[in-house]
């Protein structure tokens, strides 16, 4: 949360100042500013990133809300593999079935973890889903027509990184990676159903939600509420479920949306001022170009289905190892998704995972360049 406040305030202030200046000057002075091509580019990029992400976010929050309201914790527990290796493979390859963009992924995974899916599987899915899926493979293959090894290397390296990440998380991550929710809960209890407060405190978070939904949707059914916290949502009426689904979806939309907008803002800003020729000037040092393309991928936060086409535009300027690093690192970690991850997971967990992926992709791309693509 602190990131939002630290970055959001100055950004918002700048935005407001522009608006205010426009109002005060009646458009005269600021027309210059507003018609400046950079501001135009900025606006186009900013809005296009948000518009493009909307369908995915809405789909994500909808799936997440449906999971919350209709799928019991017991079912999730039954469906997830117990064996860690099977679990990691499951998480890595789930994207083949559910090709979601990372914007849509985070709310779904957060819900799955809350509902009892082992966090290591959920986290692997977050990082694997946006890249290990048929849509991305096809677009990479199309973009690199003459270099099919790029599409295979991209999938292969991503898969290897995800599997190792999953196994490491399984071994070393013992605490819940989700952010503490104490504050939110205290807040809730301040004004909700005093009669059931103690009851809630005694239970796990995820049972709380079920319980609350139930209560709220049907004020007249209080008698049943105590029986509903086993995660069984069977006895609810359809209108109540619809209400809960929409309530979850809209809350989650605002929850994730602010990070999306902040990410889109920074991304659009970087894209507006970044001159590509500056990048190419730095491409001479060996190894540097891989780092550079990864940093570039992080900053521009492209959607994984179209970044291959952008990568091809760097062909000839950067080596194929650097392009591979761009293609693997970008969908897994970028500015927009990092902000959204930080909203959901503990900062330490997010930073550790990102550091690992960074190192793994860097080393992996160099190895593949040396031994496979050369």
């Amino acid at each position: 949360m602190t990131i939002i406040y630290r970055l959001g305030t100055p950004l918002l202030a700048a935005g407001c100042l522009i608006m205010l200046a426009r109002i005060l000057s009646g458009g005269g002075v600021t027309d210059l500013l507003l018609e400046s091509p950079s501001l135009q580019s900025f606006k186009i990029l900013f809005i296009s990133i948000i518009l493009e992400a909307f369908p995915f976010i809405l789909l994500g929050v909808l799936v997440s809300a449906l999971l919350q309201v209709f799928v019991s914790d017991a079912l999730i527990a039954r469906l997830t593999p117990r064996n860690p290796i099977a679990g990691v493979l499951f998480g890595s390859l789930l994207g083949v079935l559910l090709p979601l963009c990372e914007c849509g992924m985070i709310p779904v995974v957060r819900r799955l973890i809350r509902k009892g899916m082992p966090p290591y599987i959920g986290i692997v899915f977050i990082f694997a889903g946006p890249i290990l899926n048929p849509v991305v493979f096809t677009s990479t293959y199309t973009a690199f027509r003459t270099q099919p090894s790029m599409a295979y290397s991209r999938m292969g390296l991503a898969f290897a990184v995800c599997v190792v990440l999953g196994l490491l998380l399984y071994k070393y991550m013992k605490k819940s990676p989700l952010r503490e929710e104490k504050q939110a809960h205290m807040h809730v209890h301040n004004h909700d159903h005093p009669h059931s407060d103690k009851h809630h405190h005694a239970h796990n978070h995820r049972h709380d939600h079920e319980h609350h939904d139930h209560n709220h949707a049907h004020g007249h059914e209080h008698g049943h509420s105590h029986g509903s916290h086993n995660g069984s949502a069977v006895r609810r009426s359809w209108s109540g479920r619809l209400g809960s689904t929409l309530a979850h979806a809209s809350d989650e939309f605002f929850d994730i949306g602010k990070y999306l907008i902040l990410g889109a803002f920074i991304t659009a800003f970087i894209q507006t001022i970044l001159d590509r020729s500056m990048l190419t000037a730095l491409s001479d040092q060996p190894g540097m170009e891989n780092l550079f393309m990864m940093a570039f991928a992080f900053a521009v936060s492209l959607c994984s289905t179209s970044d291959a086409f952008v990568a091809t535009s760097f062909n000839g300027i950067f080596g194929s190892g650097a392009l591979l690093a761009f293609l693997v690192f970008g969908p897994m970690v970028d500015l927009k998704s990092t902000l959204m991850l930080l909203a959901t997971f503990r900062t330490k967990v997010v930073l550790t995972i990102i550091a690992f992926i960074f190192a793994a992709v860097f080393i992996g791309s160099i190895i593949i360049q040396q031994f496979i693509m050369a």
Binding site: L34, S41, T146, P148, L246, E252, T267, F309, N315
Partner: protein, 310 residues
Amino acid sequence: MTATDRSRIIHHLIRAAILTGFAMYIVYLVRSDSLTLYIAPRMVIYVKISAIGLYATAIYQLYAALQAWAGRKTAACECNHEPSSSITKNTLIYGMFILPLALGFILPDASLGSSAAAKKGVNFAGAELLATGPKPAAAPSAVDEGKQEAAPSPGGPKTEAELDAMFPSDEYTESHAKYGKQLYKQDIISVPEKQFIETLTTLDLFRQNYIGKTVEISGFVHRQEGMGKDQFAISRFAMNCCSADALPYGLMVSYPRAAAYNNDAWLKIRGELTEDMFDGNRIIVLKAKQLQAIEAPESPYVYPDYDFGL
């Protein structure tokens, strides 16, 4: 009514307003035909659907506000996103949602132009991506062959076999070679809007066959560092998904009075295809013969033709 209830109602109302605002903005973009300035046509349907989703959620928020007003609790989701009670924080968060809306409604719609093109760096050689990198060994020598074979009978009609020799291909460039043969038979090769990128790529890939041919292209003028006074680029932005991934594709134009044409001017140029060095690369250059100012087209972008070669 308690203070908490009142704050709940306000939250629901603000949220309803923001959600409606986004839905209205999408509708506004659709109505004014400017949605495709931001996203590619294949994404349009999803964005339209999301407008419906936003509306539905907005209506739910209104309903929730009414419920709260009537003193009844609605199915709020208490999982970690109960609105904060601090007014500053709330202003900030809702302000972040209002900012893109304000920018969207207040600033006039426009498309990416020469300043963005200069930043992104134009992709002169559409085929650079095909011609470089570890590629099947057959291709470079095959291109040379094509050159030699083409030499004996310049200009004359070619047999199929001769054409095949001129457009050698492997499995990855097969569709370009096939398209290249069609282009070769035309007196004036006009770069169409539908296969803009594919045509440029083909011209570049089999450039030996096209040097000296007449090519016609439309696009906007822009310049980048390193260009001489008699040079500019004529390009279109190619979009895959949304304008964040748009890249300029185009041809370098050489024309003695090039300086007379301003950046962002839309031109239709007919000229002779030649080759020249730029920035250390050998690129194809259009030596302009006829320049004609044109209206900016309805859609400033071009898109990859997904049916190409199928």
